[in-house]
Amino acid sequence: MVANSIAMHLQSALPAAGGDGEGFKAPSISEFFPGPLLFEGTIFELSRINAIGLFMTGVLCLFFVLAFSKNKFVPRGIQNLGEMAVEFVQVQIIDEILGHKGPRYAVYLTSMFWLLLAFNITAILPFMHLAVTSVIGVPFLLAMVSWVIFNVEGIRANGPGTYFKANLFPAGVPAPIYILVTPIEFISTFILRPVTLTVRLLANMMSGHLLLVLFFGATQYFLIESDGIMKAVAIPSFFMGFAFTLFEILVAFLQAYIFTLLTAVYIDGATSAEH
């Protein structure tokens, strides 16, 4: 009953959205395409999302340079934090999945995890409120780099013949059935892997941002622009927004973890002797 009333209230306000600036402004896809910030009209045009990406990359580089520029045997201060950061990825992902093959990929996987976390967490950071990974370019680029690495490493470790045979012609299948099986295996392994890596991260970060905008937008609308009892709806709306902000921290971490973990799993699968 109450939910219906709120929904009708919001619906009646919707036509006003985008008009004279009044009424409830529902979040849309345009959230992810902010206008130019600097160098408008040139090839160096910088949007807010690009600026956030550059800023977070700078922060991350500065952190690791400061952490490891003056290495001491007994770590203190920021070096301690830096070592914890590296060790987390080393223990939770690299040792766990890649074992003795780990050191070769440690730099890439560690950089990838912390870069993704830095890009994801901007979704809830004050003055930013937009995940760099919520536009397709960033997750797609990282997925393509992972795709190139696991394929190149797979070919290098097994030779092209064995690698493609293991991936395209699964053992234990009668030879004529390969006509049906091999095209599916090709699409599944070589096309859908980078696509699923990209879409999983992108969709999570986009939906998280839309939910936050929806709840905080509704809070502002009910509190400032609605009358009487409807003002009270701002309270649950605010708490939902707050709850989803906390949830976004978990999502930011989890998505960075899953992306890095799956890259490690793909590399391990491609380079393992059983292939």
């Binding site: 914890m84 699964p170 392994t189 096309i191 699923t196 799993v265 391990d268």
Partner: protein
């Protein structure tokens, strides 16, 4: 590096488990996609309307399930037999 190694937060089988889950999903998506696409192509070449497309989708599903069984089902059976 610090002397104390952090505790493992994630159980050992999380990685391969994730891989199996996403491997199954991508195979089940790829099957109807590939054979449905080929069906659609045949439809447009032969001039029929939506005959080979549904056939391709069904064939894709069947082959996908077969691949999932071959890739993942047999391995599970072997592990259970070993136990």
């Amino acid at each position: 590096m610090t002397n104390q190694k952090p505790q493992k937060l994630i159980p050992t089988d999380t990685g391969p488990g994730e891989d199996v889950a996403w491997g199954m999903v991508s195979t089940l998506v790829a099957g109807p996609l590939v054979w449905g696409g080929i069906g659609m192509l045949i439809d447009s070449l032969v001039g029929t309307t939506r005959i080979f497309l549904p056939l391709g989708i069904v064939l894709g599903f069947v082959v996908s399930f077969y691949i999932v069984y071959v890739r993942f089902g047999r391995e599970t059976e072997t592990v259970q037999e070993e136990k």
